[in-house]
Amino acid sequence: MAVTEQQQQAFIGKHLAEAQVAVELQDEDMVLNIGPQHPATHGTLRVVVKLDGERVVAADPVIGYMHRGYEKLTEYRSYPQVTTLINRIDWLSSFANEVPFIHAGEQIMGIEAPPRAVYIRTVLTELSRIATFLLFLGEMGAQVGAITPVFYGFRDREYVLNLIEAATGGRFHPNFNRIGGLKDDVPAGWIAETRRMMDKVFESCDTFENLLEGNEIFLARTKGIGIIPGDVGKGYGVSGSNLRASGVDWDLRRDAPYLAYPEVDFKVWTHPGGDSWSRYWVRLQETREAARIVVDLLDRLPSGPVMAKVPRIIKVPPGESWVRVENPLGEMGYYVVSKGATGPFRVKIRSASFSNVSILPWLLKGVYVPDLITILASLYFILGDIDR
């Protein structure tokens, strides 16, 4: 296919004209597209920033590049099928995703999972939290320019993924929860292995502390950058570690207990800073805390079945339920409406990242391009979780 120069010019001209129309231009400012393909956006977020020199005058996140129509898809699928699908909303902590949906189903049906199942669910949720945060700890380093941490993050994350895979069969998308319990019990030797790996997680946290957290350059890049005051954060619906890093002591695991959390004693870490560094710090502490929770729960794992008595074909009686939980990325909620069919009638998903990035236009005003990257990285969102 040969293309003549003229064709090219015409083509480019057409696109330019369209783009000009699309974004209103001011005289002085330069409009820069960061994304949809850009190393800083963890995939396909697009941020249109208006720059004055290197300073962001206005930032406009353009989302939807990863929109897959979840809420529509759930209407055509049965409960087990939806369970497999919602793994893929927040793909880093898939197991944690499944839990609230299953809970919603269980609530409408009035079933309770046996205690062993609840414990294992909690352990796996915390494991996925660890995996998510380890990736963050490395990725954040990469975004502010350090090459090495990301490799350590991925290395140590593999240990945790191995555990999840050994138990559930999937590194990413476990599909291990069933309404009424779990698909199966964990294999022999798994608990001992987990204990061993938790030591590695602690070690890994120390590595990150040495490598980055106290590094002066890292401090200079992240301290005081992207400060979210607690009230503003709450106002925008920011949740999870991002909110806790702004000094708001808010953790659904403690404040609206679910799973086995009421039975464990854990600390909710907060930091008054509200800046990117606090977010890093809080996540580092939470990784350790999660590992501690895992060890604690494994010590007290009750024996018994992992599945309650449920009919073979699941039909959920009419009713509705709203369940929200503390996911690694923040507050995740499902509003499930059932009309008695084998699948839900309507599922409304409240995903953490969506609310977390809604603060971006507010947060990015007046920052510099390099800080923009730091802020995007420290907010830690997953595109699938934003766009669904």
Binding site: M66, R68, L73, W91, H173
Partner: protein, 184 residues
């Protein structure tokens, strides 16, 4: 000009050129969805370390890339960007489609906003099944691609056709699929 297209490259040189293209697959870092994390693991996790195979993840811009791994769900909104970025890569370029979403829509086969397969938009050289494929599966896909690059015919590739393996000129009188299948 265009010695390759005219088939004027001597045999040993062809081998060398194929060999260096095979082991210098600069891979363009672009993740789309869950599979991207597994791609990241294959690259960045010391356990897999795709760099061993000569897949170098340095270029962040398509201009220096040879290989694009479409890892994850491609939505209709994203598709024009994918096509543009692919076209912005200089030839010769390779495409790996990773995961069910990229292969043909995967779990979102009935979604209104998902493109059912990247091969509708850009030519794909290797398909990797899985949801997500394990990093090893990606490695295996890369090894497969490398085998094919080693044996590929450069002329057609230079013209932008998918990898054709076999004797020079043999593909002229064969239907395309027949040749493409007869490899590996």
């Amino acid at each position: 000009m265009g010695l390759v297209e005219q088939g004027k490259i001597p045999k040993p040189l062809t081998w060398l050129m194929n060999y260096s293209r095979k082991y210098s697959l600069w891979m363009y870092q672009w993740g789309l969805a869950c599979c991207a994390i597994e791609m990241g693991a294959a690259l960045a996790s010391p356990r897999y370390d795709m760099m061993r195979l000569g897949v170098i993840p340095f270029p962040a811009s398509p201009r220096q890339a040879d290989l694009i791994v479409v890892s994850g769900t491609l939505t209709d909104k994203m598709a024009p960007a994918l096509k543009r970025l692919y076209e912005q890569m200089p030839d010769p370029k390779y495409v790996i489609s990773m995961g069910s979403c990229a292969n043909c829509g995967g779990p979102y086969w009935d979604s209104y906003s998902v493109t059912k397969g990247v091969d509708q938009i850009i030519p794909v050289d290797v398909y990797i099944p899985g949801c997500p494929p394990r990093p090893e599966a990606l490695l295996q896909g890369v090894v497969l691609l490398q085998e094919r690059i080693q044996n590929e015919e450069m002329g057609p590739r230079w013209r932008g056709e998918p990898i054709i393996v076999g004797q020079p000129g043999a593909h002229d009188h064969l239907p395309e699929t027949a040749v493409a299948v007869s490899s590996a």
